[in-house]
Assembly symmetry: C2
Homo-oligomer: 213 residues x 2
């Protein structure tokens, strides 16, 4: 592989859409999720985000980046109204439907209806889950941190409900999301299947890591 | 797949290490990078992080989550001292070495030396890159946002230098990181190879997305 090196001035001089896609690819493979919400009138909304991040296990916190000018705007309005939202992992059977939720549907149309995905509700939890997703997480909104450098926000929620395939959970707490058919994403529009996990032993200074079986 | 559902009380009652691993798996596939830094005396440091996130393309910003009690503490001290750091994608040839950087080596030992990875330096850029990595990003520290809910931080840097395999870049700005051999991570200790990308067309309300070739 021939390596090329570019610097700030060249990055700044790139055509806007070229740069947006290129820079989006640099952060590596991403988590990709459907975010399910509902407004106080009961209308559901579904949007795709590729910025979900683990923040901590105790309390169990996850974040995602909100861009106020984007189609996730309805998502944010609904989170503010109800305090609840869901993350739903993508799998190969729903990639196209999930991608299609990023089209700018009018506010009065639910992306569930527009794409054929199925909302399901749990007891005592306001927001809809995606029935076709195999790993689904229900969150309660906790905080929105402004990132003033570029006008975005880190939206933080606490995990209050988890739906997962029981056969994918190991004795030590490892949930095999590849076995659960979860996929990954790169850039703005690329989806990738993932191969089986290779787990490595806890790293110690006096021995080389070994593969866990 | 038989789906199981658990709630807050059951999550809180999980054994600590089981919960840490389980919750870490829920955020989906993650970006995994080696962070290269150097202190003012010229001693290099290398740590592995699986929380790198794209924040924006203009200015080009990336973030990662800093846990103050972790082995990335030296990384943070060095960023404060020099203002510069690098993200280096993992590939199959360096997964074990990368994982081994998470062992608690004494402060006076460089993880480059301890794992056999090779530091390389660019002109006018303080921090070391990892020679064996195929996608390498040089960043200048911009801001550290405290996440008071759990005592962690979002560390934000601006991309000032990019090293990438020229053959992996498309005309529209898409960098094929799978072709560049980048891998992904899940949970705390699992590494996964990734299959070829399927790119979908920009979503519009009046037609179904098609596969880009």
């Amino acid at each position: 592989m021939t390596s090329k090196i570019i610097h700030s001035e060249e990055i700044a001089a790139l055509e806007t859409r070229f740069r947006a896609l290129f820079i989006n690819c640099l952060s590596g493979f991403k988590s990709v999720n459907l975010v399910g919400t509902v407004n106080k009138n009961g209308q559901t909304n579904l949007s795709i985000v590729n910025s979900v991040i683990h923040l901590g296990a105790n309390p169990p916190l996850m974040g995602f980046i909100l861009r106020p000018d984007s189609v996730t705007r309805d998502t944010w309005d609904n989170i503010l109204e109800t305090n609840y939202y869901t993350f739903n992992h993508l799998n190969p059977q729903i990639i196209e439907q999930a991608h299609q939720t990023s089209a700018r549907f009018p506010k009065e149309i639910s992306e569930f209806d527009a794409t054929g995905l199925t909302p399901i509700f749990s007891e005592n939890f306001a927001a809809p889950f995606v029935a076709e997703s195999h790993v689904k997480i229900g969150l309660k909104f906790r905080e929105r941190l402004p990132i003033e450098l570029n006008g975005t926000y880190l939206v933080i929620g606490e995990i209050v409900e988890i739906h997962f395939p029981e056969n994918c959970l190991s004795n030590d707490g490892f949930l095999d999301i590849q076995l659960a058919d979860s996929v990954t994403n790169s850039g703005l529009d690329a989806y990738h299947l993932v191969e089986k996990p290779m787990r490595l032993s806890y790293a110690k200074t006096d021995k080389w890591p070994s593969v866990l079986h």
